[in-house]
């Protein structure tokens, strides 16, 4: 059971963290919804449609954050064969994919009334769509092989190749001209968003991260249990084979 020494420690920490992460998620998302939908002003140009920003922008951040986390875990898994790293990468992928999907669809719902189009093939939108495909490719590849370790290795390599897309998304609006506007929050010279609008934005961002922690713990628990089940089954088959030979 040496293989599970680290996962065992993860499980202990996870049990401690889970209720706190859930509490933070519920509080910040609840407050974020209220501030986002009611407790913040309309924009001077975009009116009430600016409220879409409070889910769209944090979802975009999460899409990039989860991908980076997944790539870092994959690198650790490839280099140091850390048994937990693969599981964490696998557990993060669906969350990142979900946030990227939310970002793309809410972006379309925001673009239609403001820009006059659901979708354009500019550098920002296209690179974000590629991010979604990278997630889907990662998840498909990780499950595509009968030998889970081979699939995991192939998926880890894909995630490292795809990590080049993350800085492209971030700076696409600066490197090329796009329909999408440049960054508002993380930019030189400080944010270009009024503080009254920063409140719901930050609450949702914290809430989404807490949500990620909750789901990460749940999915990693599932992955650890699945890995143990596989090991036990293999031991059973092995023992049965020996018994037959005897």
């Amino acid at each position: 059971m040496h293989r599970f020494a680290n996962p065992a420690r993860f499980m202990r920490i996870a049990t401690l963290v889970l209720p706190w992460a859930m509490g933070v998620a519920i509080l910040t998302l609840g407050a974020g919804l209220w501030f986002g939908l009611a407790g913040s002003p309309a924009d001077y140009q975009q009116g009430e449609s600016v409220r879409i920003m409070y889910v769209h922008v944090p979802a975009a951040w999460m899409g990039m954050f989860c991908y980076t986390a997944m790539a870092v875990c994959s690198a650790m898994a490839l280099i140091w064969k850390h048994p937990l790293a693969d599981l964490l990468a696998r557990a993060t992928a669906p969350v990142g994919a979900a946030f990227t999907f939310v970002c793309l669809v809410t972006g379309a719902l925001w673009g239609k009334p403001m820009w006059g189009t659901w979708w354009v093939w500019d550098a920002r939108l296209t690179s974000m769509l590629i991010l979604l495909f990278l997630y889907l490719g990662y998840m498909a590849l990780a499950d595509a092989f009968d030998d889970p370790q081979r699939g995991q290795k192939a998926a880890a390599i894909l995630s490292l190749v795809g990590v080049v897309n993350v800085p492209i998304i971030k700076w696409s609006v600066d490197w090329w001209n796009t329909l999408h506007q440049p960054a508002s929050v993380v930019k030189m010279g400080g944010p270009a968003i009024d503080s009254s609008m920063m409140i719901p934005l930050m609450l949702m961002a914290v809430g989404f991260h807490a949500f990620w922690v909750v789901v990460l713990i749940l999915r990693t628990r599932a992955e650890i249990a699945a890995a143990k089940v596989r090991t036990l089954r293999m031991a059973q088959v092995h023992a049965a084979g020996q018994a037959e030979q005897a």
Partner: protein
């Protein structure tokens, strides 16, 4: 070198190589990745416009919008050069004088850009109306929709 170190170098070099390849490809495709051209680029013939559908982007010049039934005429400027545009159809909510705009269409023979589609491009500033007004009043306004000089 231990196996772990070797794997570390492999991963680091691999990621760097992919990054360099991506940088090369993106630099080569620069002209295709930009979403629109400025009036200067089009007027200085830096892009082929002959009979091709292109996108023109810039600010809608203050006081240039003239509506004649369903037909709208306005001028797109980037500060240095200005191009007249003609369009008929629905305009997005954010289409305003002094605001960013991206239009797709063809250069007409008379030098007028015939737009088939008009999209609004907004800047990265978000604030409530009152803040915008007080900024304008105190002269600290830095947004796109600046009144014409």
């Amino acid at each position: 070198m231990t196996r772990k170190q070797r794997r570390l170098y492999f991963v680091v070099l691999g990621v760097l190589a992919v990054g360099a390849a991506a940088a090369l490809v993106l630099t080569a495709l620069r002209q295709d990745i930009v979403f629109f051209f400025s009036p200067s680029e089009i007027l200085e013939a830096k892009v082929p416009t002959e009979g091709r559908r292109i996108r023109l982007g810039g600010l809608v010049e203050q006081g240039s919008v003239v509506k004649d039934g369903a037909i709208v005429r306005f001028r797109v400027t980037d500060g240095a050069h200005t191009l007249p545009v003609v369009y008929s159809g629905l305009l997005p909510d954010l289409f305003r004088e002094g605001q960013g705009v991206v239009t797709e269409g063809k250069m007409g023979p008379d030098g007028e850009f015939q737009a088939a589609e008009v999209l609004a491009k907004h800047d990265e500033n978000y604030m409530p109306k009152e803040v915008a007004e007080s900024l304008k009043k105190t002269g600290h306004w830095q947004g796109e929709s600046q009144p014409a000089k």
